[in-house]
Symmetry: C2
Amino acid sequence: MPKIIVEVMPKADLLDPAGKAVNNALHRNGHNEISNVRIGKRIELHFDRAVTDADVAAAQKIGEEFLSNAVIEDVVSVTVEN
Amino acid sequence: MPKIIVEVMPKADLLDPAGKAVNNALHRNGHNEISNVRIGKRIELHFDRAVTDADVAAAQKIGEEFLSNAVIEDVVSVTVEN
């Protein structure tokens, strides 16, 4: 099924307490090679038909205006998966 | 900064109420071309050094055993971004 994947992350200069907690837990389990963890969202928009360029542009707009909060989050990627 | 991106989605045969709510809201706003929405997680593991193949294998294991709940979620992708 064709889908557009919109990925949203907390802005780089913003604290991410959940990511910090996961990072601490990984360190406690010996994964000291990981310096930081950030947790965001991966939103799949499914289509019953082939995805067009217009759909991708619309998905970018949906991501920025609807799926994310521009004050604290960035849309980091909009990709098509057929 | 090198990072490994682990992506986790609710299993396909599982209800996703948040995704359903977003889908309904998109329909109310005229986006009837979208047939379904699923919401998952995008987790970034940051490294202070280059990422090795062993790190990717470890990240897959961390994703399956630590970042996701195998009963209700799948690790759908583990990718490196340098």
